[in-house]
């Protein structure tokens, strides 16, 4: 199916993108839909981007649903293990 399911968040950080250069990212788009490259019918796709720098300023990942859940757990685990005062 073509899910159209899309969620967006403003983010603040950096990503290593096209040409191996780091850049500041401001926007995250998360969607569960057809991947461009991954060999699965549907994947959890994340775009970290700086729209002000054009369409190419983007880091994209396409993860199977299972691995996306694993990544989510890993992120929560890492944040939970940090000193509370650091993780703000």
């Amino acid at each position: 199916m073509c899910t159209y399911a899309t969620a967006r968040r403003a983010v603040d950080g950096s990503a290593k993108g096209p040409g191996g250069a780091w850049f500041h990212v401001t926007d995250a788009t998360v969607y569960f839909d057809h991947p461009v490259h991954a060999m699965a019918e549907h994947t959890l796709n994340i775009d970290l981007a700086d729209p002000s720098a054009g369409p190419g300023a983007r880091v994209a990942v396409e993860l199977t649903a299972e691995s996306a859940r694993g990544l989510l757990a890993a992120i929560q685990e890492a944040l939970a293990s940090a000193e509370a005062e650091l993780a703000v």
């Binding site: 788009t29 019918e41 981007a49 369409p55 983007r58 994209a60």
Partner: protein, 250 residues
């Protein structure tokens, strides 16, 4: 029928008079023939779509695919352009209608044109193909697993997608629909609704459903590819356009 063809990137006049990039493929020679507007899928104006455009030329039609994401991401890689447009909520129905109308006018302006133009779309383009059939002077519409021709999108969807259920009585030409029975959007129930509404409105249509196939079964570069469904689908498309784009009254 010759398999000698030419293909190139051109500029057409789209919605609001905008100059829009498009991909054109034409058979060799000036034998009068119909034209086909190909509407790309949500992942964009990509290599797989351009292969389909060339296939229509090989089938004997002048074919053109407007880059629907040209305004938002001119010159960008197809996947980056698709990501940009998705994050911005997709393209408007108004833009789609204007771009297809521009593409149809371009095809009718070619010296080889017999005046007939069909439209075909895949995935999101399937819905947009039907939308074009409601609003643009075209002669045949093919909907390949378009979501939300019938059925209602989630209320919180950030994308500009609305159901066409209430407008199907406006359909101006015959419709061919090709669907996978394992698809969820459109589901077999969505296709039932489409079939019922087209019947109620007295429209000319044919719908084919494939077991063992889900969404995107035509996509040869994706795991969803189902050769049996795709091969039969191409034959249905060839026969349908052969009937309605031949230049003779069907």
């Amino acid at each position: 029928m010759s398999d000698t063809l030419s293909a190139s990137t051109i500029t057409i006049t789209g919605n609001d008079g905008d100059e829009v990039q498009a991909y054109l493929a034409r058979p060799e020679g000036d034998v009068p023939r119909g034209g086909v507007v190909v509407i790309h899928h949500l992942p964009g104006y990509d290599r797989a779509t351009k292969e389909m455009v060339r296939r229509f030329a090989e089938l004997g039609y002048d074919a053109v695919c407007p880059n629907l994401y040209w305004r938002q991401a001119p010159g960008a890689a197809p996947d980056d352009a698709a990501a940009t447009v998705r994050a911005a909520g997709g393209i408007s129905d108004e833009q789609l209608v204007g771009d297809v109308a521009g593409a149809a006018a371009y095809l009718r302006g070619l010296p080889s044109s017999n005046g007939k133009v069909g439209v075909i779309g895949y995935c999101s383009g399937g819905r947009q193909s039907v939308l074009a059939g409601l609003s643009v002077d075209v002669d045949a519409v093919v909907d390949c697993y378009g979501a939300y021709v019938t059925g209602t999108p989630r209320a919180d969807s950030p994308l500009n997608v609305t159901s066409l259920e209430d407008r199907l009585g406006e359909l101006r030409c015959p419709l061919l629909g090709l669907f996978g029975n394992e698809d969820k959007t459109p589901s077999p129930e969505h296709v039932d609704t489409l079939e019922r509404l087209l019947s109620e409105h007295g429209k000319s249509f044919e719908i084919h459903r494939y077991d063992g196939a889900g969404h995107a079964f035509f996509a040869v570069d994706r795991p969803a590819y189902r050769p049996a469904a795709a091969n039969d689908g191409w034959e249905r498309i060839g026969a349908f356009y052969g009937t309605y784009l031949s230049g003779k009254e069907a």
